[in-house]
Structure formats: structure tokens, C-alpha cells
């Protein structure tokens, strides 16, 4: 059994331990230990029932730890009785774990770390490497997160929107490392989609698939950024696009629109265009209008202005842009692009250079500097 399949069993095994009365933090440690043991033992001696094996080993490890703790504590005070198993599950256990790990009392970074460990089954070291922090720091972040949610009842229903925000963060701001966090976010969102029937879960999954499909085309051989219009569309993963579109259409058919479905619809329209010139910008602008009604995110209005520049011409785009706060991220970059399209390369070059100094990451800075240089050296 591969590592990913093995990790897929993590939430159900953990939920069984919690249902048997183990506290979440100790059960989570025991499941991690069992996963490590499985990686060590299984290649030579694969079990017939992988999940049963993990439950047995994790439960034994939990009992060992609890007994050691108990005998240590017994000298000081009386130990509470083992808590009785909880009531019969009202909701899917896996779903409950997602809720717990994305609990609103957690900061975004701790919710991300806890989700990747307790739901994703990644080790602390893998998570630390992925986010470029020392393992000791990540270990503390995770144990603090566990303490924060220790008072939350496992059966307490949560808000699926908080879970989606955490998964979106893992997908969108994942660092590149040994673990492919984008693929991991897709796996976790797929798993969530089997645990709950919700159009926004489907919308986020579609959004991830449609963007993941473009990944091979997003980066030049030198590591530079390739913008959407310049991407080699032959390198887009048509299988992922087809899957994303099917999932999105089924979600949209239920007529409960949300922001992830709207974002996915925009991604699908890009995916549908054989060339950049054939993009249906009019529909994209309409989807940005929908998105604007669903959220009050000013970035949406900025993106809409750029889309309007394609649909109705650069002057319409610049007019829409003029109504927005110039301090918005990528405002200057958008203005540079629209000025170039409007036939004013001198202004565009100046704005590209200015935008480069404000870029939020190195790839964008290099890209914007290259745009300024291209216009300055012609």
C-alpha cells in the first residue's frame, strides 16, 4: 500500500480511537506512531486488513502512553474513570475531524498544520519542511493547536466554510517542498467531498483541479512565471480539466451558488478557450459580477477591471480601475498592463517598474521587471 493510500486511512482510524473514548490529542499522537510503524513493518509483512491493523496498533500505543502517564500521575492524585464512548455518530466522523482541525478558535497557520497532520497523516517533519520552519517550531504549533481545541466536543457540528478556507490556504499558498501540498489539498478536498454533499465543497474541488491542470504550463524552464495568456495550452492537463468541469456543472445545477463555484466557473472559461484570444471575456466579467455580489473582496473588483479591459477594451478597463483604491495589491501591475494595451508603452513601462517594487513575491517581481525591460529596450 502506497504512502498516500495509507494516509487516507488516518481520519477514520483517528475517529475510531476518539469514539472509544481516547482524548483527541493523545489519540492523534497514537495514530501518528501507528503510521510510522506501518511504513516500517508493512513492506516486509503487509496486513490483510490495513485499517484494522492501524486501529489495533494505534489503540495499543494509546493505552501504553495512557498507562505510563497514569502510573506517573497515580502517586499524586486519583485518576478519573475512563470516559464512556460517545453517543452514536450523528455526522460522518471524518467530517467531524475536518471541523475540529479548522475550528474557528485556531489561527489560520495552526489550523493548516493540524489539518495536515491529523486529517492528512503527514508527519510534523514533512509539514515543517513544506512551510520552511524548524521541526521543533512546527511541533509546538501543532501541540498548541491541539490544546486550543481540547475543550471542543467531537460531535459539535462545525461550519464547512471554515474547513474550505483552510484547504484553500493549503492549495494556494503551499510552499514547494518534498510534499506536494497542492496535490495534498486536492486529496483532502476530494475526501471531504465524499464525507459531505455540499456545492461549495464541489466548487472548491473543481477550482483546485482546474488550476492544478495548468501547473505544467505556469513555469518557464528558467523558473520564471508564465502568465495565462502566454501559456502553452497544449501542456494543460485535459483530464483534470474535464473532471473539474463535470464536478462544477453538477454543483452549479443545484442552484446554490457560492464564491468557490464562481471562481471555478471563471477558471473553467479560461480552460475552455483553445487560445487566449478566444477567451469568453464577456462571460468572465459576468462571473466576476456574481463573485462581487457574493463577497466584498476588493481583489475581485480589480480582477473584474482587468477582465473588462479584455471584454470592452483597455479604456473601459482603466476606467473601472480608476474607481478602485490604488493601494490594492497588483493595482499598479493591472494599470501597467491596461496602459500597454491602450497603446501607451512609456506609461506602461514606468508602471511595470513601479509594480515590481511592490510585488508580493520574487516570481512576480522578476516577471514585472522583465515587462518593464521589454518595453524600455524596444
Amino acid at each position: 500500500m502506497g504512502e498516500v493510500l495509507l494516509r487516507g486511512l488516518t481520519p477514520s482510524v483517528l475517529a475510531i480511537l476518539v469514539r472509544r473514548g481516547a482524548d483527541f490529542a493523545a489519540a492523534e499522537d497514537a495514530v501518528q506512531d501507528a503510521l510510522v510503524e506501518a511504513v516500517r513493518v508493512w513492506p516486509a509483512d503487509p496486513p490483510r486488513d490495513a485499517k484494522g491493523w492501524l486501529v489495533t496498533v494505534a489503540w495499543r500505543k494509546f493505552l501504553d502512553t495512557t498507562r505510563a502517564d497514569t502510573s506517573r500521575r497515580r502517586r499524586e492524585d486519583r485518576v478519573d474513570e475512563e470516559p464512556a464512548p460517545g453517543p452514536a455518530p450523528a455526522l460522518d466522523d471524518t467530517l467531524q475531524l475536518y471541523f475540529l482541525c479548522a475550528h474557528p478558535s485556531l489561527t489560520p497557520s495552526s489550523a493548516v498544520a493540524l489539518t495536515l497532520r491529523a486529517v492528512g497523516g503527514l508527519t510534523t517533519r514533512q509539514i515543517a519542511e513544506a512551510y520552511l520552519v524548524p521541526e521543533a517550531t512546527m511541533a509546538q504549533r501543532i501541540s498548541r493547536a491541539k490544546r486550543t481545541v481540547s475543550g471542543v466536543r467531537f460531535e459539535q457540528p462545525g461550519d464547512v466554510a471554515t474547513v474550505l478556507r483552510v484547504l484553500y490556504l493549503v492549495f494556494n499558498e503551499g510552499y514547494s517542498g518534498d510534499v506536494d501540498l497542492a496535490a495534498e489539498a486536492i486529496r483532502l478536498t476530494r475526501q471531504l467531498a465524499t464525507a459531505i454533499d455540499h456545492p461549495e465543497v464541489a466548487g472548491l474541488l473543481a477550482l483546485m483541479l482546474l488550476h492544478h491542470a495548468r501547473r505544467p504550463a505556469r513555469t518557464a524552464p528558467d523558473g520564471g512565471l508564465v502568465p495565462l495568456a502566454a501559456q502553452d495550452r497544449g501542456r494543460w492537463d485535459t483530464g483534470l480539466i474535464a473532471e473539474g468541469v463535470v464536478i462544477l456543472q453538477a454543483a452549479l445545477a443545484r442552484d446554490r451558488l457560492g464564491e468557490f463555484q464562481a471562481q471555478a466557473a471563471i477558471a473553467a472559461l479560461h480552460a475552455d478557450a483553445p487560445t487566449a484570444e478566444e477567451t469568453d471575456w464577456v462571460q468572465i466579467v459576468e462571473w466576476y459580477d456574481e463573485l462581487g455580489r457574493l463577497t466584498d473582496n476588493p481583489i475581485v473588483r480589480l480582477n473584474r477591471a482587468v477582465a473588462l479591459g479584455e471584454a470592452d477594451g483597455p479604456h473601459a478597463g482603466l476606467a473601472a480601475l480608476a474607481e478602485l483604491d490604488t493601494a490594492l495589491p497588483r493595482h499598479t501591475a493591472a494599470a501597467a498592463y491596461l496602459h500597454e494595451r491602450a497603446g501607451d508603452p512609456a506609461t506602461a513601462a514606468r508602471l511595470y517598474a513601479e509594480a515590481a517594487t511592490k510585488a508580493p513575491n520574487l516570481a512576480e517581481r522578476t516577471h514585472l521587471t522583465r515587462q518593464a525591460a521589454r518595453l524600455n529596450t524596444y
Binding site: 517550531t137 504549533r141 471563471i266 508580493p360
Partner: protein
């Protein structure tokens, strides 16, 4: 989730409030200062926000390429170098406000008389990653 660099200067930052050079502190004051820095780093590790901390010697050398087949040219240190870095700490925090709060705490490290130095620390954001979803 964003990384920030807290930069400490030997030279180049505005003068602190408690502006007595370290070589004029008592040994106990130096110990108290070192302890504060260690405790601060240990506390940040516990909150899951510590990434790295390093101190630099003030004695640096400037080096540059001098052409094919020739050894690099070295020069300095230059007394007129305006900006001299003493060390840094890298933190990984949820918000800019949290980064400012932590820099403020680090700047309260005790100096002469056991009083906070009120040292100016430079707070610099790391470049983030290119997000996957941009449109």
C-alpha cells in the same frame, strides 16, 4: 503565515533610548541581556513562530570578482560603512501586527541599568510564494 526578518544593527539604525554601548554595561547586565534574548527565542519556539536567529561578527570583508583566472579582490572592513548588521531573527507569524508586536518585545531587551534598550529593529517581510490562484 508570513515570514519576517527582525534586523539588529551595530550601526545604521537611529539611536536607541538607552544608548549606552555594551562594553560599558556591568557583566550582570550583559548576562541579563543574553538571557532575555535566549528566553525570547525559546518562547517563540513554544508559540510555533520561531524560524531562525543568528548573530554576526562586526568584522566583515568586501569581496568581488576580478576577472577570468584571477583571485577575487578583497577589501575592507570600511569604517564608513553606514549599515552594519549585528544579527537577525526570522519569525513566521499570521499577521503583520503580530510581527510588529514581537519586534517591540525584542526591542525591550534590557541594557545598561537593567532598563530596556528601546533599540530600533528593522522589520522586513520575506517575499511570499507565488499563489496558485490569481485570476
Amino acid at each position: 503565515m508570513a515570514k519576517y526578518l527582525l534586523l539588529k544593527h551595530y550601526r545604521g539604525a537611529p539611536a536607541p533610548v538607552n544608548d549606552v554601548p555594551m562594553d560599558q554595561w556591568t557583566p550582570e547586565e550583559i548576562s541579563a541581556h543574553v538571557q532575555y534574548m535566549n528566553d525570547f527565542a525559546a518562547r517563540l519556539e513554544k508559540t510555533g513562530e520561531f524560524v531562525d536567529g543568528q548573530a554576526l561578527s562586526p568584522e566583515g570583508t568586501f569581496v568581488r570578482y576580478d576577472g577570468e583566472g584571477r583571485p577575487p579582490v578583497t577589501d575592507g572592513p570600511f569604517a564608513e560603512t553606514k549599515d552594519l548588521i549585528a544579527g537577525w531573527m526570522v519569525i513566521d507569524v499570521d499577521t503583520y501586527e503580530r510581527a510588529v508586536e514581537l519586534a517591540g518585545e525584542l526591542s525591550a531587551a534590557p541594557g545598561a541599568g537593567g532598563k530596556p534598550i528601546h533599540e530600533w529593529l528593522e522589520l522586513r517581510p520575506f517575499y511570499g510564494v507565488q499563489p496558485t490562484i490569481t485570476e
